[in-house]
């Protein structure tokens, strides 16, 4: 007779001393782990619920301005520095980690219209309603020194926007025309005009550094090449765009914030039809900024909310609002892609988390692992109705909630009418026009 009976030595399964960690022998045999899918689903459901519980995006409010915040600028080299310009011509430099103002200067009379930090991070430019462009040192002046601009340029007309080249000492301003300036000269090296209009924003492409885009008040978006003497092309839309932002990772794409409550992502090669229409705001969109990953962007709106959109989704994944926040004028996504900064009408700058439920600070390896695991589970089961319902739910202020509803009703009515018209006319007489095509009037080259 040959016999063997299972006999385990406890020494192999129990820790030796109390200081050791417990031994956990594993066996991944699927029959020992029944209900794989239902258990994972339960975990995903719990993770989604917890995400909603821990979604506390608001971090801090930076107060100190004496008028509405009109523009923000990220420091190009330092993550913890932020510059803000207000409607009374004051510029403040903030230390974000300490959440305090480190420097205040009276830059302009009237609004500070635009502000940008030079790519080296040693100085910054401001433009204001007083028709001047000023260059300032980034360092605070020493004791006894006076706060004076390095350089002042007097323009002929009011400047409304400003952006700096990524690598060279060249910057662009917009007002009644788009001007390209050399830092060393007091007159523009090039001026672009296309019809009589005024421009509200100008942006350099961060990848193809010689390209520029600007939004004009005649409802058009104009693209330029700095090396050429004439603009490249423009697209005219049904409503005016307020600002635009280039995708930092995909050189061809840009997103513009429009007065018709939508944002449009364009491919600059094919302006006839936007790649995506991003809807959700219930009032004019005032500013937009991409995350450094190029996967998402954040928009600020007149409806007192901040929304985050995935680059390729038609609706926002997140909405931020507070009771006290008024019309949000300017928005920035921080360079480490973790935070969002919004400047609003009621003189405050707010610091938000880009991922509302993210835990800040250094994570232990096990915490990180758990977060990754739950993230993956949420992704896997995101389309199950129960989970999607919880993940999508956001509390909205009453006014916005009702306005959204109203807009939906209006849209449905319009669509219904069009359907009825189509039904009662000759086939093909009323063609189906997609949402993307609706908002573009023409493209001019």
């Amino acid at each position: 007779m040959k016999v063997k009976v299972l006999s385990r030595n406890p020494d192999d399964y129990v820790r030796e001393t109390k200081l050791d960690i417990q031994r956990v022998p594993r066996n991944y045999d699927p029959t020992l782990h029944p209900f794989e899918v239902p258990r994972e689903y339960t975990r995903a459901l719990n993770a989604t619920k917890l995400e909603r519980v821990f979604a506390k995006p608001f971090l801090a409010s930076l107060d100190g301005h004496r008028d509405g915040v009109n523009c923000l600028a990220k420091h190009t080299k330092s993550l913890s520095t932020l510059l803000s310009g207000s409607c009374d011509g004051e510029v403040k430099v903030w230390n974000l980690s300490k959440r305090e103002c480190v420097r205040t200067l009276q830059a302009h009379e009237g609004f500070v219209r635009g502000m940008v930090v030079r790519f080296c991070g040693t100085s910054f430019f401001t433009v204001g309603d007083d028709k001047t462009i000023k260059q300032w040192k980034m360092e605070t002046p020493g004791y006894g020194e006076e706060e004076e601009p390095l350089n002042t340029i007097l323009g002929k007309t009011v400047f409304t926007g400003l952006d700096h080249h990524q690598k060279e000492g060249v910057f662009a301003t917009c007002g009644q025309q788009v001007d390209i300036w050399d830092e060393q000269r007091s007159s523009p090296i090039r001026s672009f005009t296309w019809g009589v209009d005024s421009f509200s924003a100008v942006r350099f492409n961060p990848v193809e550094t010689e390209l520029l885009g600007s939004c004009a008040s005649d409802r058009s978006i104009v693209l330029y090449d700095m090396r050429e003497s004439a603009p490249l092309k423009k697209v005219i839309m049904t409503m005016r765009s307020n600002t635009l932002c280039w995708n930092p990772m995909e050189a061809y794409y840009f997103t513009c914030a429009n007065e018709d409550y939508n944002l449009y992502t364009y491919d600059m090669r094919h302006l006839e039809k936007p790649l995506m229409v991003h809807m959700d705001h219930v009032s004019a969109v005032l500013d937009v900024d991409y995350s450094p990953t190029g996967q998402e962007f954040v928009s600020a709106s007149f409806d007192k909310t901040v929304r985050i959109f995935p680059r390729d989704a038609g609706h926002s994944r997140e909405v931020y609002h507070t009771k006290r926040m008024q019309h949000v004028i300017c928005i920035k996504w921080s360079s480490d892609s973790k935070y969002i900064l919004s400047g609003s009408d009621e003189m405050n700058i707010r610091l938000w988390k880009a991922n509302a439920a993210e835990k800040l600070g250094v994570l232990a390896p096990r915490e990180k692992e758990a977060a990754n695991y739950s993230q993956k589970l949420k992704e896997k089961f995101q389309n199950h109705p129960q989970i999607r319902r919880i993940a999508r739910h956001r509390h909205l202020p009453k006014s916005i909630y009702h306005q959204t509803k109203e807009l939906r009703v209006m849209k449905d009515a319009r669509r219904r009418k069009e359907m009825n018209v189509r039904k009662h006319s000759k086939p093909g007489a009323v063609p189906v026009v997609s949402e993307k095509e609706k908002h573009v009037v023409t493209v001019v080259k």
């Binding site: 007779m1 040959k2 016999v3 063997k4 009976v5 299972l6 006999s7 385990r8 406890p10 192999d12 399964y13 129990v14 417990q22 031994r23 956990v24 022998p25 594993r26 066996n27 991944y28 045999d29 699927p30 029959t31 020992l32 782990h33 029944p34 209900f35 794989e36 899918v37 239902p38 258990r39 689903y41 339960t42 975990r43 719990n46 199950h384 449905d412 669509r415 069009e418 359907m419 189509r422 189906v432």
Partner: protein
């Protein structure tokens, strides 16, 4: 010459010729080189002694030599030398046996979507890669599991079923030998038995009110009470701190010190109980034909189903999908979930009443025994009978072990069978006679032990090869500490599966819900007035230099139209081919059958 190289051993300067200790990989290499030498013409003696091979052969040999060279070169590449000068005897990753890979296979390979769905394609490819890697890793890890299953083999001519328990207990080590014991409890007789999920704790309940829970390996008695009432069944709940006792009238829950925690008056006349560990549900079958589910984590009754089939005293659960199987006096077995008032499946299994039911760990096979003295094995995937055995006395209790051993009690004899569903079994693997009629049978998880409750107390039997040798520490750890148990309890409660998710196919949640998508799509089309997913009509692009003349445009349109047409034709052909094949196969089968002569053929004209 202080370095311990091979040469130092092979060229000794003093004394006897020492041989280097042989290594099995060296042997292999030697064999290989020998083979090469024989095959190739490099060996001069072979060439000299043998007759000269003809030219053709020579060429062949040359070819072979080249092949050998190539092989060697390949080998050299593989056997990269280490710094020490030795080469890795096992280069590359080890091969994984196919059956292990099969064990961890979760799903079939997905079909890659066409190129135009680039994103989806990438996503699918990536997820396939991930699951493939996980499968391989799990299979690799499986090779490293520390324990191996037990076994019992007789000598030549010796029958394993004749080997007595005492012999086995004497032959194995002391700790294992101590796992065979008898508890003589003749007063409160016959006993029901239950082991908890980790297999550390044993609960016995005597018909006349005696309930005891024991840490059976250390023989430490945790509590012993007499409930002064008839006890119909006992069951551990999720951990060893609580158990349920079905008494004469109500269902009671006690803790491991024997203190009554709850008396649940909603559950009356309970005869049998099953605990679903991942759902935290206690399923009870009562004499009033009610099947009730109690959620033990919140203490609520989840469902009460009137089965309308009379007294329910045969019950078991399918551990893979948490479906309850009930056996009935009319010979049917019914399958129940808490979500449906009707039985999911009704199977007529026996001519007489059903006496006992058991389902195996993988949820594939069901074993039933009935009053017609038959033991039947069913395949639960197809709900079809696989095997039918005749037991002279009929089996009153059945139990299946983790490794698939079947124990059947006939009167006071406990028989253990092996491979009941794969091979026709003629005689038992083991047999043991206890002192009274058997009332409860339960294999201990993760141990080679079978607990038998009978008229005269409790017997713990050694059944080598019954238990799963390697447990998973995060699921059921027999060696867990109090702290580990607490942590496990919290995690298990967080992962508690809702009773609504119980269904015949536990992977249903992971399937694509096409019906809902179609419904949604239809709604969308209705709201929009057009189909957004419809194929767009082909509009030829405008081309310069006169290539967009009306004729050319028409031609291009036609090309595209033809392409579409071709797709349709291709599909139709494929379908046709398949049906043809199917028909051919059927005909072949038919012809095969008809070629065999039957007894009735002689009456044919």
């Amino acid at each position: 010459m202080a370095s311990p190289g091979e040469e130092t051993v092979s060229v000794p300067h003093v004394g006897k010729k020492k041989k280097a200790p042989s290594r099995y990989w060296q042997e292999q290499q030697k064999e290989e080189t020998k083979d090469g030498a024989v095959k190739g013409t490099t060996n001069p003696t072979a060439v000299d002694s043998g007759p000269k091979p003809p030219k053709q052969k020579k060429r062949k040999l040359k070819h072979e030599q080249n092949k050998n060279k190539k092989f060697l070169k390949h080998d050299q590449n593989k056997n990269k030398k280490l710094i020490s000068g030795k080469s890795d005897p096992f280069p590359g990753k080890p091969r994984i046996p196919g059956d292990r890979l099969q064990k961890f296979k979760r799903k079939n390979k997905m079909k890659k979507p066409p190129r135009q769905h680039g994103k989806l394609r990438k996503l699918i490819v990536r997820s396939e890669e991930a699951s493939d890697m996980a499968q391989k890793q799990a299979a690799r890890f499986d090779l490293l599991l520390p324990e191996e299953a037990g076994f019992l083999e007789g000598d030549e001519g010796e029958d394993t079923c004749l080997i007595s328990q005492e012999d086995i207990a004497n032959a194995v080590d002391i700790t294992s030998g101590a796992k065979h014991f008898n508890l003589k409890l003749s007063q409160f007789g016959p006993y029901r038995v239950d082991y908890n999920k980790t297999g550390r704790h044993l609960l016995i309940g005597g018909r006349r009110g005696h309930v005891a829970c024991i840490d059976w390996q250390s023989k430490h008695l945790m509590c012993e009470i007499n409930v002064m009432e008839t006890v119909n069944d006992v069951k551990w709940l999720h951990s060893e701190s609580m158990y349920a006792v079905a008494q004469k009238k109500w269902l009671y829950i006690y803790d491991s010190n024997g203190i009554e925690l709850h008396c649940i008056r909603k559950f009356n006349d309970v005869l049998r109980m099953q605990f679903l560990p991942y759902h935290f549900l206690l399923a009870t079958a009562s004499a009033t034909s009610f099947l009730q589910y109690l959620d033990v984590s919140v203490g609520k009754e989840v469902a009460a189903i009137n089965t309308k089939t009379g007294r329910l005293d045969v019950m078991c659960q399918n551990p893979q999908n948490a479906i309850i199987h009930l056996g009935h006096p009319n010979g049917t077995v019914t399958l129940w979930s808490p979500n449906q008032k009707e039985a999911l499946v009704k199977m007529l299994c026996h001519q007489g009443g059903v006496r006992s039911v058991a389902v195996d760990k993988t949820g594939t096979y069901m074993v039933t025994s009935g009053m017609d003295k038959k033991l039947k094995v069913y395949d639960l995937r197809a709900f079809k009978p696989l095997k039918s055995y005749f037991l002279p006395a009929g089996a009153s209790c059945l139990s299946l072990s983790q490794k698939g051993l079947l124990s059947a009690a006939t009167g006071d004899i406990v028989q253990v069978y092996r491979d009941v569903w794969s091979t026709p079994v003629t005689k038992p693997y083991m047999a043991h006679r206890v002192r009274g009629a058997v009332w409860g049978l339960h294999f201990c998880p993760f141990e080679d032990v079978l607990g038998v409750g009978h008229q005269d107390g409790f017997t713990s039997m050694l059944v080598p090869g019954a238990g799963e040798p390697n447990f998973d520490g995060l699921d059921a750890n027999p060696f867990r500490s109090a702290k580990q148990r607490q942590e496990w309890e919290v995690k298990a409660l967080l992962d508690k599966i809702q009773p609504e998710l119980i269904s015949l196919d536990p992977t249903e949640l992971g399937h694509v819900d096409r019906a809902t998508f179609q419904q949604k799509h239809e709604d969308r089309v209705k709201a929009l007035g057009f189909d957004p997913l419809a194929k767009v009509k082909f509009i030829p692009r405008y081309k310069k230099k006169g290539r967009s003349s009306a004729g050319r445009v028409e031609k291009r349109k036609k090309q595209v139209a033809h392409e579409d047409q071709r797709d349709i034709i291709r599909k139709a052909m494929e379908d046709k081919r398949k049906t043809e094949e199917e028909r051919n196969r059927k005909e072949q089968k038919k012809s095969l059958l008809s070629s065999q002569k039957s007894a009735l053929d002689r009456f044919k004209k």
